[in-house]
């Protein structure tokens, strides 16, 4: 704007002071793979402007074991052990999906008692998985107490699992056509007592966290995703339901004996982190009620249908899916007949839910990225397979 400058008679050139422009550049921050908040080995590359996230690139695959390929070399009974290790905090749910897929292919139905045992185990596992979620989620935000409370309750569930299947985590208990063995005599009374304790434990977590002001500040309005977007991303499970879409495989495509049970689907409205947390609290309560109903339905009977012990399904293709604590877990099997599948594909809910991470985090602060990742509740064993 030299024309406005008053002429001077000094005869020297005029040096203009540049208008102030921030000289900052975006910074790359590497999070993981050995980061305690990533719940496994997961790496995020964040491009941050100050504290604000501009971009996020997730890197997965650190836990890749080639499970799908391994399945091609294993007989169906051996594949169950591999499925135990996909989502290692909800083993029973994983076993259920593979055995129901093979059962569908072979067109056999497990005895009613076995179906109920499966449902009870799966719902206990759902509660155990959600308890783990509350605890680790609270830790992500700096609250340590809930984790200890939740682990106390989860421990009780695992003790029950041990008395049923013999193992606390990798059970290998479901079989094609039933379950390995019947539950012990005191199982029903023990489960009912455990239900009461769990209800109390869930209430405790609810009181500790839900209305805590710091907790609310950290979670409400953070990582919002609309129902439409959630569907577009292919999200499922609590993450989808928190956005207001009442989709639950247990209700929409009832498998096993879920159609005989009466339970609600908790649905959120805002689709933020708080909704995703609270949907899981309510879901755990519904699971307790499912267990009570299933125990009431239990009748003595066989737990294994009379089929060959080594499953040999006919040639064909099958897709089966079940509601995992993390979402819609599907498995697609191509069989050529024989003991082994020709090809097996898993639709892992954690992997699909993780896709939305970038959209959810951009614009928030680094500390929120941890919270948002926490509410997606991924298990890297399943993401990487």
């Amino acid at each position: 704007m030299t024309e406005n400058v008053a002429p001077t008679n000094l005869g020297s050139t005029i040096i203009q002071v540049p208008s102030p422009e921030p000289g900052t550049v975006d910074m790359m921050v590497n999070m993981g793979p050995q980061h305690p908040a990533t719940h496994g080995v997961f790496r995020m590359e964040l491009r941050v402007d100050g504290e604000q996230i501009q971009d996020l690139v997730p890197h997965i695959g650190y836990l890749h074991r080639g499970s799908e390929k391994l399945c091609e070399h294993e007989s169906y009974s051996q594949i169950i052990t591999l499925f135990d290790r996909l989502d290692y905090v909800s083993n029973f749910n994983n076993e259920l999906v593979i055995v129901s897929a093979v059962e569908k292919l072979m067109d056999v139905a497990p005895p009613p008692r076995a179906e109920l045992i499966r449902i009870i185990m799966c719902e206990f596992n759902r509660i155990a998985s959600h308890l783990l979620f509350y605890g680790t989620f609270a830790i992500d935000m700096g609250a340590i107490t809930p984790l200890l409370y939740n682990f106390r309750d989860r421990e009780k569930i695992q003790a029950l699992f041990e008395s049923v299947s013999g193992a606390r985590m990798m059970h290998n208990y479901f079989r094609v056509g039933g379950v390995k063995e019947d539950v012990a005599d005191e199982f029903e009374s023990r489960s009912l007592a455990l239900c009461d304790e769990l209800e109390h434990g869930i209430d405790e977590t609810d009181r500790l966290l839900t209305e805590n002001e710091i907790f609310l500040e950290r979670t409400s309005g953070i990582g919002v995703i609309s129902g439409e977007d959630a569907l577009d991303w292919g999200l499922s499970g609590p993450v989808l339901r928190a956005s207001g879409v009442p989709y639950d495989v247990r209700v929409d495509e009832p498998y096993s004996r879920y159609d005989e049970l009466d339970f609600g689907i908790p649905v959120g409205s805002a689709g933020d982190c708080w909704d995703r947390f609270y949907v899981r609290i309510l879901e755990a309560r519904e699971s307790v009620s499912i267990i009570r109903q299933a125990i009431a339905l239990m009748e003595p009977g066989d737990t294994m249908s009379k089929i060959r012990r080594i499953a040999r399904p006919p040639a064909g293709e099958v897709y089966a899916h079940c509601e995992n604590p993390r979402g819609d877990l599907g498995v697609y099997i191509v069989s050529e007949g024989g003991e082994r599948p020709y090809r097996l594909k898993v639709r892992p809910p954690s992997f699909c839910n993780l896709q939305a991470l970038r959209d959810l985090t951009v614009g928030h602060y680094i500390a929120d990225a941890v919270v948002i990742l926490g509410t997606l509740d991924i298990v890297l064993g399943e993401v990487d397979r």
């Binding site: 009974s77 041990e162 049923v164 299947s165 013999g166 012990a184 012990r309 080594i310």
Partner: protein, 200 residues
């Protein structure tokens, strides 16, 4: 002031609550009888020999391929003491690779292998967890005493005993054990050729 006392009350209540944890190496939590520890081989006390005939079915179905077995002719059979024509000669399980899935127990037709309650076998050397037949039998003996073990499946090696057991099973229809499971012809008869084929 009041809230301070309330806080103290919470602390006091917490201090008086019963413990939920136990100090592991000093204290051991009770194990359920169904607990699946490392696999062990059982001992047939009346005949004073292992139940295992070395049929290799478990070896074929182990998902981690951590076992190996070798069969031999049973001298006690020729002497008429035992009904087992074949008996195990050597057996090895690499417990470092075993995933405690229990498939070997499931597929064995002779009740010769069981998941023991043994679960503390940390060793200093990488291969120290490759256990051989005597160790497995020792583990099995301990287990048999611990849980008051009884044979649950009819013994497929002797058609006579099998028939008796089958009749007994028919009578006790309420028994949990499925009859179909135990009379699977495909798995009870394993010729060496078959095993060779599968291993190839």
């Amino acid at each position: 002031m009041l809230s301070g006392f309330r806080g103290l009350g919470v602390t006091l209540r917490g201090a008086l609550r019963s413990k939920v944890t136990s100090e592991y190496p000093k204290e051991h939590l009770p194990l359920d009888n169904r607990f699946m520890g490392f696999p062990a081989l059982t001992w047939d006390v009346p005949r004073d020999e292992p139940y295992c005939t070395g049929c290799m079915v478990c070896v074929r179905y182990c998902p981690t391929q951590c076992m190996s077995a070798k069969m031999q002719d049973n001298e006690k059979f020729s002497e008429g003491v035992s009904h087992r024509k074949k008996i195990i000669e050597s057996f090895e399980i690499n417990l470092g690779r075993c995933i405690l899935c229990g498939i070997c127990v499931d597929v064995c037709n002779f009740d010769a292998i069981e998941m023991s309650l043994e679960h503390e076998r940390s060793e200093r050397l990488r291969n120290a967890n490759r256990v051989d037949l005597p160790t497995l039998l020792d583990m099995g003996r301990v287990y048999q005493v611990e849980v008051d073990w009884k044979q649950s499946k009819p013994n497929a090696a002797s058609p006579n005993e099998r028939a008796i057991a089958k009749a007994a099973a028919e009578e006790a229809k309420t028994a949990e054990e499925s009859v179909a499971e135990t009379s699977d012809p495909d798995d009870s008869v394993t010729t060496p050729e078959e095993t060779g084929e599968d291993a190839a």
